[in-house]
C-alpha cells in the first residue's frame, strides 16, 4: 500500500527536520556575544576583592553550567538530558530548573492562545464565506474593517485595547494573569480574576486573526463558487443551500493549513501580547531568557516552538489525506 509508505516517508522527513532544528536551537543562542556565567558569577562575587577567589567562583559556575566543556560534549549532554525532559538549570533564574519554569508558564500561553486562535479562525472563515456569498455590507464594510485590524501590528492592537478598555473604561485589569493580591488556588475568586485578566490579551489575538483568515476564505469561496461542479449541481436541481455546503467544505481545506501554522507559531506570536499585558506565559519567559542570555531556557523555548510547528504540520498532512480525496489520490501514486 502506497499510503503507508507515503506516511513513513513523511515522518522520516519530519524527524530529519527536527534534528536540524535542534542543532540550530542549541548553537544559535550560544553564538550570541557575551558570557552569561560571568554575569551570574559577578553577582555572586559582589564585594569580593580576591581575584583568585573570584576566579574560583567563576570556574565553579562554569563547571556547574558545563560551559567549560567543548561545544560537542555540551551538545551530547544537552540531547541526553533533553530526551528525559531535563533542560538543565536556568542561568537567569538560577537555581530554578528550565523544566520547572516552562511547566509553570506554558499552560498560560496555551490556554490564552489556543482558544483565541481557534475563535479567530472560525470567525474569520465565517466572515470570509459570508462576504463571498452574500457580498454587500459584509464584503464592502465588515471585511475591510477586520482586514485593517489584522494589519495593525500586535503591539499596536494590544496597546489600543489596553488604553481604551483598561485605562479609559476600566472594564478590565491592565496586567498580569490574575490579581496580584491572589494566590493561585482552585477558588471562585481566583477563577474570576483569571477570567477578567484573560479578556484583553484574548481579544487582542482574536481581532488580529480574523482579517487574515477571512480574506483567504473569501477568495477560496469565490473560486469554489464559480467551479464547474456548482453549475452542474444547480442544473441537477440541487438546492442552493446544499451547494453552498459543498463550496464551503471545499474552500475550508486550504484554511486548515493556515490554522495549523498559527497554532504552531502561537508561542512566538504570544510574545507581544504577553509582554504588553505582563501575562505570565511562555512569551514573557522567552523574552526574559533572551535578555538574560539564558541558553538553556532559550533552547528549551525554541525547541517547544519547533516541535509544535512540526507537529501541527504533520497532523495537517495526516488529516488532509483523510478529508481531501484529491490529496489522498495523489499520495497513493
Amino acid at each position: 500500500m502506497g499510503y503507508k509508505k507515503y506516511y513513513t516517508n513523511k515522518i522520516i522527513w519530519y524527524l530529519l527536520t527536527l534534528v536540524i532544528a535542534v542543532v540550530l536551537n542549541f548553537i544559535l543562542p550560544r553564538l550570541m556575544p557575551g558570557d552569561p556565567v560571568s554575569a551570574i558569577a559577578a553577582r555572586a562575587v559582589n564585594g569580593m576583592t580576591d581575584s583568585t577567589a573570584i576566579q574560583a567562583v567563576y570556574e565553579d559556575y562554569a563547571e556547574k553550567f558545563g560551559i567549560n566543556l567543548p561545544m560537542s560534549t555540551q551538545f551530547a549532554i544537552f540531547i541526553k538530558n533533553a530526551v528525559r525532559g531535563d533542560f538543565g538549570v536556568s542561568f537567569s533564574q538560577y537555581p530554578r530548573t528550565v523544566s520547572n519554569i516552562i511547566a509553570s508558564s506554558v499552560w498560560w500561553t496555551v490556554c490564552l492562545q489556543l482558544p483565541a486562535i481557534l475563535l479567530g479562525w472560525i470567525l474569520g472563515n465565517v466572515l470570509g464565506a459570508v462576504s463571498a456569498y452574500k457580498k454587500g455590507i459584509f464584503d464592502k464594510g465588515v471585511l475591510p474593517v477586520f482586514l485593517f485590524m489584522s494589519n495593525v501590528p500586535a503591539f499596536g492592537m494590544a496597546t489600543v485595547l489596553l488604553y481604551v478598555f483598561s485605562l479609559k473604561l476600566g472594564m478590565a485589569p491592565s496586567s498580569g494573569g490574575y490579581g496580584f493580591d491572589l494566590i493561585p488556588t482552585a477558588s471562585i475568586t481566583f477563577f474570576r480574576s483569571v477570567l477578567a485578566h484573560y479578556q484583553l490579551p484574548f481579544w487582542s489575538v482574536v481581532l488580529i486573526t480574523i482579517g487574515g483568515q477571512a480574506i483567504g476564505m473569501r477568495s477560496m469561496s469565490i473560486y469554489e463558487l464559480n467551479a464547474d461542479y456548482v453549475k452542474y449541481s444547480r442544473f441537477m436541481g440541487i438546492k442552493d443551500r446544499k451547494i453552498v455546503g459543498y463550496v464551503f467544505r471545499n474552500a475550508m481545506l486550504p484554511q486548515i493549513t493556515g490554522l495549523a501554522m498559527s497554532i504552531g507559531t502561537m508561542i512566538g506570536g504570544a510574545l507581544v501580547a504577553e509582554i504588553i499585558f505582563s501575562y505570565p506565559g511562555l512569551g514573557t519567559t522567552l523574552l526574559a531568557a533572551v535578555k538574560g542570555r539564558d541558553y538553556p531556557l532559550i533552547s528549551a523555548c525554541t525547541l517547544i516552538i519547533t516541535i509544535m510547528v512540526l507537529l501541527a504540520n504533520l497532523i495537517v498532512e495526516l488529516i488532509y489525506g483523510v478529508i481531501d480525496p484529491r490529496i489522498k489520490a495523489a499520495q497513493q501514486d
Binding site: A227, D228, Y229, K231, Y232, S233, R234, F235, M236, G237, I238, K239, K242, Y246, R249, N250, L253, I323, D324, P325, R326, A329
Partner: protein, 335 residues
C-alpha cells in the same frame, strides 16, 4: 408523428455585462423535438451554442437573463415558473444537462453515490437511501459502469469514466429532454465512441425521451442525431435532417462550416479543406442586416440592410438567407 417533447418558441436570452450592456447570445431561437428524436446544434466557438443549452433549462442566474419567448416541455410551459419550482419540477427530471467540462462537473470531495443521493433527494426528499442505491446500481449496471464507481470520488476515475458517470447521473431521473453540451469534446476517440454509444443506449432503453447534442464536430452530429441546426451569432441559420445538412447545405455559413471539416465519407476526403474568412460579429452591437454578410462570399448590398427572415421549405427545412433556395443552388453550381 411522435409527441413533442420540447418546443421552444423565439427564445431570447441575454448576458448583462458589468457595465450594463446587453449581449443577446440567444436571439430568437425556435426548436421542436419529438419523442425519440435527437437534434444536433453546430456552430463555431462563441456562436451561442452553450448559452442556448443553458437557456433551454429555464433556470437563469447572473449574468444570464431571460428576455422573451417560451419553452414548453412535454406541453408544459416552464418560462413562467418560479426558479424554485423549475429547480424542483424541471431540472434533472424533465430537462437534464451534461456540461461541457464534465471532467470538473463533480464535487472533488464528495463520493459519487452521495451526490446521486443529493440529486434524487432534491426532487423527492422522501426516498430512502437504500432505494436510491438500488436505483443507482441498477442504472450503472445497464449503462455498463461498475458498481464500485458509486463508492469512489471523482478524482479516482479516469476522464472517460468520469464523463460516463456524469452522463449516468444526469439521466438518473429519466428526463424527457437531455441536453448534452460537447459531451465528448475533451475525450480521446475510444472514450468518445463509448460516450456516443452510451447516449444511444439511453435513448433506446427509454431513459431519455429526446436529446439535444451540441458540438462543433459536424461528423459526430451526422452519426448521432436525426436533425442538425447550425447556429451563427445567436441565431439559427439553417436546419434540416442530418443528411441534408452534411451533404447539401444551403446557407453559405453551413456550407462553409461543412467545407472546413473533414467528413469521413468517401470522396469528401479529397475535397480541399477551406476556412471561412473573418470573425463572427460582436453581439453587443449586432449588424443591422444579415449577421453573416461581411464574411459571406455571396453577399449582396441588400444583405446588409435588413434583418433576414427564416425561409421554410416544404420538406421542413429552414434557412435564413437573403437569397432563395434556387438562387443559392445556382451560385453553388457555378463555382
Amino acid at each position: 408523428m411522435g409527441k413533442t417533447m420540447l418546443e421552444v418558441d423565439h427564445l431570447k436570452t441575454k448576458y448583462v455585462t458589468r457595465f450594463g450592456e446587453n449581449v443577446f447570445a440567444v436571439d430568437g431561437v425556435s426548436i421542436k423535438i419529438e419523442e425519440g428524436k435527437s437534434l444536433g446544434i453546430a456552430g463555431e466557438s462563441g456562436c451561442g451554442k452553450s448559452t442556448l443549452a443553458l437557456s433551454l433549462m429555464g433556470y437563469y442566474f447572473a449574468p444570464l437573463h431571460y428576455q422573451s419567448g417560451t419553452i414548453k416541455v412535454d406541453g408544459v410551459n416552464i418560462t413562467g415558473m418560479k426558479p424554485d419550482e423549475i429547480r424542483k419540477k424541471v431540472l434533472g427530471n424533465e430537462i437534464a444537462y451534461i456540461p461541457q467540462a464534465a471532467m470538473n462537473a463533480l464535487n472533488p470531495t464528495q463520493k459519487i453515490f452521495s451526490f446521486i443521493e443529493d440529486v434524487i433527494k432534491a426532487h423527492d426528499p422522501g426516498v430512502t437511501k437504500k432505494d436510491i442505491y438500488d436505483l443507482a446500481r441498477e442504472r450503472f449496471e445497464i449503462l455498463g459502469l461498475p458498481e464500485s464507481v458509486l463508492k469512489k470520488h471523482a478524482v479516482e476515475l479516469s476522464g472517460g469514466m468520469r464523463q460516463r458517470t456524469v452522463i449516468a447521473i444526469s439521466t438518473i431521473l429519466s428526463p424527457k429532454v437531455l441536453i448534452a453540451d460537447e459531451p465528448s469534446s475533451a475525450l480521446d476517440v475510444t472514450s468518445q465512441k463509448m460516450v456516443i454509444k452510451m447516449l444511444k443506449n439511453l435513448m433506446e432503453k427509454g431513459f431519455i425521451k429526446s436529446m439535444i447534442f451540441i458540438t462543433h464536430e459536424l461528423p459526430l452530429l451526422y452519426n448521432v442525431t436525426d436533425e442538425i441546426m447550425v447556429m451563427y451569432a445567436g441565431q439559427i441559420v439553417e436546419q434540416g435532417t442530418a443528411r441534408e445538412m452534411v451533404f447539401d447545405p444551403l446557407h453559405p455559413y453551413s456550407k462553409g462550416l461543412m467545407g472546413s471539416i473533414l467528413v469521413p465519407e468517401k470522396g469528401a476526403r479529397e475535397a480541399k479543406l477551406t476556412a471561412i474568412p473573418g470573425t463572427p460579429p460582436n453581439l453587443k452591437n449586432p449588424p443591422k442586416g444579415c449577421r453573416f454578410a461581411d464574411r459571406c462570399s455571396y453577399a449582396k448590398p441588400a444583405c446588409m440592410l435588413h434583418q433576414i427572415a427564416e425561409s421554410h421549405l416544404e420538406n421542413g427545412r429552414m434557412f435564413r438567407c437573403y437569397l432563395e433556395e434556387k438562387e443559392l443552388r445556382e451560385v453553388y453550381r457555378d463555382e
